[in-house]
Amino acid sequence: MPKKEMNIDLEIFQILNEDGRIANTREMPQLKDDDIKRMYESMVLARVFDDIALKLQREGRMLTYASLMGQEASQIGSALALEDEDWFVPSYRENGVFITRGFPMETLYLYWAGDERGMKIPDGMNALPVSIPVGSQVPHAVGIALANKLTEKKSVAVVYFGDGATSKGDFHEGLDFAGVFQVPCVFICQNNQWAISVPVKKQTAAETIAQKAIAYGIDGARVDGNDVFAVYKVVKGAIEKARVGKGPTLIECYTYRMENHTTADDWKKYRDPSEVEWWKHRDPIERLKKYMEDEGIWNEAYDKEVWDNAKAQVSEAVKKFESVPPPSPLDMFTNIYEELPPEIEEQRKDFE
């Protein structure tokens, strides 16, 4: 029997190298200057959002927060590859995806400050809220994709998770179902090397995450997660392939978590500072900046404008989020069932 042809490349796919040069001209996606600027501006915005979140947390104005610093190319490159009707299913580190998809920043801050109203998914946006139990959201995307397939919608479901999630049963069962039912779903693993203090080597004896696709009979790809062009190109290709019924793809974005796991963590306990330093030189924002400078679409004045603009937007969002009056304690009792059962109705009255 002939073997099924599978498309897996375990080399790290790269277009923009560490020096900000195009390493692979043939693969460079068709992007206008404005598209590239949008990538840069979105990455800067995510970085500023993140930076301010950490600051607010230190000042006690926000609770535990999971930083995405270092993963901007993986998040923004992929988020820009989605069409409006596509679904994204996040873990808890996808603030860059949320912002790029148009989720209001003040609402995100509200969530990270412990306010349930921050989980409100805006009407018209096909997204699930932040999912904290690691990997548990992976099969939800498969179910969404299966529903889209059965009801003949053209929408693709894109799900995000980390290297740690690939150890979970939910990951296995989700990818298994996705392969069996050939659903329009794209799995984006941001392999940021660390699941809190456990390195990826201790998550799996497999050399790569991408190769796990082979076992599920689906396509896999391994991409430089700090290269926004490569991420965009590979994710875009996988989404379009899924949209025309050619099945799911597992994409490993090889990247790095430059910050702590969350603000409740201290990476100095388990990481060598030289490793963090090494990755700092691979900062996805710096890399794109060098490229843009060489191409003549970046200069100091533009850069100042980009950062100032990002800071102004974020500070506006902070102002908005901090001026939201505290939630009514009675909100606890909303959105439990379509109609509140008498038990809870009574508990609510008791509370009042």
């Binding site: 109203r117 989980m119 009407d123 009801t151 069996v180 069932y337 008498p342």
Partner: protein
Amino acid sequence: MKLNLVQSINLALKQEMTRDPNVVLLGEDIGKDGGVFRVTEGLWQQFGDNRVIDTPLAEVGIISVSIGMAIAGMKPVPEVQFDGFSLPMLDQLYNHAGRMRKRSQGRWHVPLVLRVPHGGGIRALEHHSESLEAFFTHIPGIKVVTPSGPYNAKGLLVSSIRDSDPVVFLEPKRIYRAIKEEVPEDEYTIPLNKAEVVQEGSDVTVIAWGAMQKIVREAVEQLAGKYSVEILDLLTLYPVDRKTIIDSVKKTGRAVVVHEAPRTCGYGAELIATINDQALLNLEAPVARVTGYDIPMPLPKLENYYIPDVTRINRAIENVMEF
């Protein structure tokens, strides 16, 4: 027409699938094979691969993919083969199915019905005979329904499928084929918050659900002429019909709760707390419990010593009456 429980559930599924193209069944061996209890027999032949989906052997996959489908606007009705295998699903039920309405602030909800063949008494292998209702009723955002016969099974399942919240539907497998009842072909629903007064009485209230209903009725029949026993069939465990329970206990002043599950933190404890809250001063005796023991469900050679039977139920009724 006269149908058993398997046939009435099959009929409800068939009619709801005909009515609503978004109703989709998922599970292990539910297609060509018709399910391990043959509940879905003939449905794959009628509705095809896209409506009756044989899944990989993965309980978490079944429930979590169903959650995704429900969020995206479908009405999945997943089946788990046996109660003991539903435990890995608790994570997804607790963290996502019961919480998605809250987690998305009302943007998404999860209208699915998880069908679980439930309880013991069929001489099955280990892990095939558990009673887990208290695990499910403890999950906020979930409804828990359990029929006790062919007629109420059909009406309750139709209501569950049409409900917009996640429902765990516990099917008493011991009586799948033990009872035949008149089941109308025509559509009918039974509300998901209403207990049934199966038999009116004035001396003592016996509360049970699922397969225990049949045993309770047999037990009470033996006491005919001696005591006037009121029998309640809860049908829905969450949200439970507390009014019917309290009205009954206020009338009789005595109650016995019967369930197969272990005693400690069993659903009976919740019922007794409810009675204490609202009818303590009407009680002539402490409420008695006839339950399984706090031990792993025994294998078939001993299971009949574990499951409440006529003798144990009647002894409890006598004790309560003579208190």
